[in-house]
Symmetry: C2
Subunit: 364 residues, 2 copies
Amino acid sequence: MTASTNQTNVVPERTVLSVDAMGGDHGPAAIVAGISRSVKANPDLYFILHGPQERLSKLVAKRKQLVGRVEIRDAKDVVTMDDKPSHVVRHGKSTSMWSALESVKQGEAQGCVSCGNTGALMALSVMRLRKLPGVNRPAIAILWPSRNPTGFNVMLDVGADIKADEHDLLQYALMGVSYARNGMGLERPRVGLLNVGTEEHKGRAELKLAHELIAAQADNSSFEFVGFVEGGDIPGNACDVIITDGFTGNIALKTGEGTASLIGDLLKEAFKYSPLSRLASLLAVTSLQRLKKRIDPRRVNGGVFLGLNGTVVKSHGSSDATGISAAIGLAVQLAQSQFTQKIAARVASVTPMTQDDSTGVKAD
Amino acid sequence: MTASTNQTNVVPERTVLSVDAMGGDHGPAAIVAGISRSVKANPDLYFILHGPQERLSKLVAKRKQLVGRVEIRDAKDVVTMDDKPSHVVRHGKSTSMWSALESVKQGEAQGCVSCGNTGALMALSVMRLRKLPGVNRPAIAILWPSRNPTGFNVMLDVGADIKADEHDLLQYALMGVSYARNGMGLERPRVGLLNVGTEEHKGRAELKLAHELIAAQADNSSFEFVGFVEGGDIPGNACDVIITDGFTGNIALKTGEGTASLIGDLLKEAFKYSPLSRLASLLAVTSLQRLKKRIDPRRVNGGVFLGLNGTVVKSHGSSDATGISAAIGLAVQLAQSQFTQKIAARVASVTPMTQDDSTGVKAD
């Protein structure tokens, strides 16, 4: 008993993350730079880094603060953005992505971070880590800049699957609430169900059924259900957690990103128009940087895979060191909060199960 | 024959629009101001204005340029934003919205403009004007600020219906092409089908089927099919016409609007932060106005109802005079291009029909 207690105390002090060094647009140099930045901010971090040994060794050797903190696992192949998930599942054993998930599966690391192909990462994660008991469809959750006091909303699913029935949507709500509580510190998150109108008679059949299921769980699971919300509420402050199927969520996410990017470019153009506007842009530079920081996607970089036996954070393919470091920070926070165990307990508490819940972790 | 030719020449010179004066957030004063602005720009315009006679007479009397151009039709009731479409269809005969559509049905006006409840306006339009032969689901098309040379993309459906099968999506493509050609002057519009990825194996079953149907019609109907596009392409320049079901389109539209609005507010905040940034904002005022004008939703105000026997333009509920005037301009352009007849011919050309196509208008 004493040994066991000691072990429980020791583990959280030494957080080990498994990082896929390959598959991002900027190559392994950006990943190593991101790891290095994370270690500066959090000296209790250790890494298992997956990719071509020789190349990674050289990159790691250049960073003094990484000495003794990074173990490299040789993986000669890379999952590309064009690889089909089904192909990777069958033939991807020699890839850095597979190897990175393996470290989580074997319990060597408390979480995995990858910038690679989202579809392949999800397919491999489901195959290697397996879904949590009671979870039908895992989901990808992201943080979205919003008018909320925290500055962000959680939205899921943004693309793990293209469909979701009412039971899936209920599970998304439960998993999203756990995420908002453990990842954003919200005690009693407000949950909204994405629809084309807020009236209860509107929308698809599965949304009306999901409305009932989610409403019925609100008190039990300590969240507030605000009912249907609309697209405009995604960047709004009507709720903290937005529930939708992966098709709609993916389109909404990319539409929002594309709109923000268009406005950013038009803003730059507008400031280049005349000598006076160029002068204005010089004076406005700190204001614009403040705005940019507020909605900088790198600050909230990381789609979290929910519903699996293990924490997996998908960093944006175009992530630089700042983005990678943010994704690592998120993985650390989730790993240290025993997030996976809490989601498992939460899902188990509302899913009729034959076996006993033996996680011993309070649902949260 | 001579008389008929004369008539054809006369009709376009005198364009009559039917305008619902009620149901907008700013009341009939904004509508009358918008009409007045339109007349200044286009002295060949005449209006039938629907709403409470006494109130409208006073508003119209204040504007000299409207003398002899506006006929008022008394309608004592108003469709509110909260009215259920099914209720309006059954009990809405005394409303200004119903009356406004009636003028189009009776052939007194070449198009209808309303700021009212979208669902009710669509339901009433379908009931009173009827769908074009061969059209299963009418659609709402909007213009979206984009990186295209024209500055805008067409997207449909953005909320007429919550579902669409592959045949509906094909019809949306044909109707959207007609709109891009007649409303935006694009000879050979590029059409994209909205999905969660651009690979042909991705997405829902009906999208794969629609991909085949639309591709097969591209040459016949003189458009270019670029295949699947993603949310980021809505404000992009991959295509000119974006095809999707009304559920997804509505969520995307509102997400984009909400994101733009959040960025606008954060931009204002950023410029208020310090004395220096306030000075910068003074210098930048013309640059920012240029940007605002570029993405000002009022400039492209108007969702066009496609697939009906008549032109109906839905102006935004919060439209001011500028917005109303833009919606009227759009209705005029579509009415003068014999848009409805062209869509009817286009749909008929690819829809197996029992009766002969007797519109005599070239598909466009």
